[in-house]
């Protein structure tokens, strides 16, 4: 019987290690998923600064770029783009700006997070300079124009005629609002509201 117990013990150790590893694997899926999306450009998750390798200017092709602005929940700033859409030739560099205003009584810090749709086109929209690369600080009651320089890669596939560049603005002021979480403070709880 002791021999069996010894074998059981060795096997249990290995099986427990498998369980712990798989628990870790569940969490490893999070960065893996991010890397996968970044490599394939899925989900519009191409956020880093990039310049096109191809420098031709394709005057005969026209691609519409639309700008969308959103505030994350509980973000009080007003946030809008100077233009709703522009029509660009691939290879052309274009500068536009986004306007923000802080209506509150205190200095706040914000971070904009971009997303490009359709995902297939994400890697062909190059942000040469973007306000989303940095945190933006704004004094109480102040306004600001934030610049964005983009260009469309001439390698963009023929079937893509329009791209949408969407920004969501997050409150990352240190303090009670909490960093980037957005779901810490006054999160919506419909069920609770109904109950009370």
């Amino acid at each position: 019987m002791n021999k069996v117990q010894g074998r059981n013990r060795a096997l249990i150790k290995r099986l427990l290690a498998v369980a712990v590893l798989m628990f870790g694997f569940g969490f490893a899926l999070v960065p893996l998923y991010d890397v996968f999306c970044r490599v394939t450009g899925l989900n519009g998750k191409v956020t880093q600064a990039s310049a096109p390798a191809d420098t031709r200017l394709l005057a005969e092709r026209r691609v519409t770029v639309r700008f969308i602005t959103n505030n994350n929940e509980n973000m009080p700033w007003s946030f809008s783009s100077a233009e709703k859409k522009v029509v660009l030739n691939p290879g052309q560099t274009y500068q536009t700006h986004f306007r923000v205003h802080n209506p509150t009584q205190q200095t706040m810090i914000a971070q904009a997070v971009p997303s490009i749709s359709p995902g297939q086109g994400a890697q062909y929209l190059h942000k040469i300079n973007c306000f989303c690369f940095d945190q933006q600080s704004l004094q109480a009651g102040a306004s600001m124009d934030m610049p964005l320089v983009i260009s469309i890669d001439p390698a963009i596939p023929e079937h893509i005629h329009a791209l949408t560049l969407s920004y969501t603005l997050f409150d990352i002021t240190p303090g009670e609002q909490g960093a980037l979480s957005g779901n810490s403070g006054g999160r919506l709880m419909p069920a609770q509201e109904e109950a009370s």
């Binding site: 369980a19 569940g26 779901n183 709880m189």
Partner: protein, 529 residues
């Protein structure tokens, strides 16, 4: 139960029989007692989860809102799913494994008897915690058993925390159970019981245990992420913080798809015992059954995104997951054809376990075929989140997993209690269940194809007739389960003495023990030819 030892134990240092009173059940390390506990627990959960299903079907009897609030309806769909999956089907299989695996492989008990006790006794606490959320402010979890973020994070009721810890406890219980089963099968086989002589129930359970070990920790991980998103300001699934709600679906279904095979593979094993017994022929294609089960298990890790065809995965992904899913039909088909070949020219009799096993083969195949329809990515865009999906997974889970469990219980009950089964009562239960289950779930195919979405308390008028039929069927099926309870209890209490072999064609070590088997069996390992 009257599982008192009838043979004289030759070892003086052993107990001769079970302890008396409630302590027997609280502190038991005997695999037969723990198997019984698991089975009764899952029966109670089956009745609770079933009552919730009847509330759902009562509300859906007619269009409009009659009986329950939409919020409470959502709590019912959520709890019905969670209780049936984690409380009824899985513990029932673990109970059957506890009872049968040691006596099928000639082992004196499970490898880790104390851990066995613990893995059972966690469960009542886990489900008490989950069910207690019904009485909390904000109500029970209402986000579906799949708890998609942000429904389970940003918009969750406060009771989500109880849900998370409940799932943690169920996960710990399942992982310990799986480790125990793997250790038992690996190390405790009687001499001569080689791998390719293992009974198929043991094989399917071994593979299931590895699936459990691989994916229950991932489930624990994903509920932990939900927990930290809700309480500790992380943003795994919150786009606001750089996370992604679609990530939730990937991690969840990485667990979820192997989970559906966890709920069906042991039933394959049970049916592979019953059909040869009542066809009085050895199982056709034993080795191909083993390999088919293993390939289903391996493939189950590569198909998870077929639950997410509509989230916007790229074409290459849709194609990969579509073909991988369809590939599972091949080993599954091997099994179905093997069962048919086993019956071919057999001397078949139709006792209650055989009726359930035959219904299993036919109705599970219907569920498998609707699964193939859902696997076709372009069609899935129409079927997604409709009653067609509800019809599909209920066909594989109710006349699939649940009929498999009931077939197993009727098959082995005379062995456990020592009393011959009351065939008339068993058949009555079978036919009412068979008619009820088809009346409930078959019309759901049609209303699903016609576009009725799932998880809603109200529906458009054109779906009214089929919903009424489904509700009538659900009540028929639900109440005929009381016959099952009656059959089991009355068999425990009285009946003619069963022979050791119980069924004429039964083969295997478990049929060489007395009926009921002694409290401690195979203290000396048997000889296996």
């Amino acid at each position: 139960m009257s599982a008192v030892g009838t043979e004289v134990d030759t070892h003086d240092d052993h107990h001769h029989g079970p302890a008396r009173g409630i302590g027997r059940w609280l502190f038991t390390t005997n695999h037969k007692d723990i198997g019984t506990l698991y089975l009764f627990f899952s029966l109670i959960m089956f009745l609770i989860g079933g009552s919730m299903a009847l509330l759902i079907r009562a509300e859906l009897f007619q269009p409009g809102l009659q009986l329950i609030e939409p919020g409470f309806f959502n709590q019912m769909t959520t709890l019905h799913g969670l209780i049936m999956v984690f409380g009824a089907v899985m513990p029932a299989f673990v109970g059957l494994a506890n009872w049968m695996i040691p006596i099928m492989i000639g082992a004196p008990d499970m490898a880790l008897p104390r851990m066995n006790n613990w893995s059972f006794w966690i469960l009542p606490f886990a489900f008490a915690m989950l069910l207690s959320s019904l009485f909390m402010e904000g109500g029970a979890p209402n986000f579906g058993w799949t708890f998609y973020a942000p429904l389970s994070t940003t918009y969750a009721p406060p009771s989500v925390t109880y849900f998370v810890f409940g799932v943690h406890m169920m996960g710990i219980s399942s992982i310990m159970g799986a480790i125990n089963i793997i250790a038992t099968i690996t190390n405790m086989r009687a001499p001569g019981m080689t791998w390719m002589k293992l009974p198929l129930f043991v094989w399917t359970w071994l593979i299931t245990a590895f699936l459990l070990l691989a994916v229950m920790p991932v489930l624990a991980g994903v509920v932990t992420m939900v927990l930290t998103d809700v309480h500790f300001g992380t943003s795994f699934f919150n786009a606001a913080g750089g996370g992604d709600p679609v990530l939730f679906q990937h991690v969840f279904w990485f667990f979820g798809h192997p989970e559906v095979y966890i709920m069906i593979l042991p039933a394959f094993g049970i049916v592979s015992h019953i059909i040869p017994t009542f066809a009085r022929k050895p199982l056709f294609g034993y080795a191909s059954m083993v390999y088919a089960t293993a390939s289903i298990a391996v493939l189950s890790f590569t198909v998870w995104a077929h639950h997410m065809f509509t989230v916007g995965i790229p074409l290459a992904g849709e194609l990969f997951f579509m073909y991988a899913t369809m590939a599972i039909a091949v080993p599954t088909g091997v099994k179905v054809f093997n069962w048919m070949a086993t019956m071919w020219r057999g001397s078949i009799t139709f006792e209650t376990p055989m009726l359930f096993a035959l219904a299993f083969v036919v109705l599970f195949t219907i569920g498998g075929l609707s699964g193939l329809m859902l696997a076709i990515a372009p069609s899935d865009f129409q079927y997604h989140d409709t009653y067609f999906v509800v019809a599909h997974f209920h066909y594989v889970l109710v006349p699939g997993a649940v009929f498999g469990i009931m077939a197993g219980v009727y098959f082995w009950l005379p062995k456990w209690t020592g009393h011959v089964l009351d065939e008339r009562a068993g058949r009555r239960h079978f036919w009412l269940s068979f008619i009820g289950v088809n009346l409930t779930f078959f019309p759901m195919h049609f209303i699903g194809l016609a576009g009725m979405p799932r998880r809603i308390p109200d529906y458009a008028l054109q779906f009214a007739d089929f919903n009424m039929v489904a509700s009538i069927g659900a009540f028929l099926f639900g109440f005929s389960q009381l016959l099952f309870v009656w059959n089991v209890i009355s068999n425990i209490r009285k009946g003619r003495q069963a022979t050791d072999q119980v069924w004429e064609g039964a083969q295997g070590l478990e049929w060489e023990l007395s009926s009921p088997p002694p409290y401690h069996s195979f203290s000396e390992p048997p000889k296996v030819n």
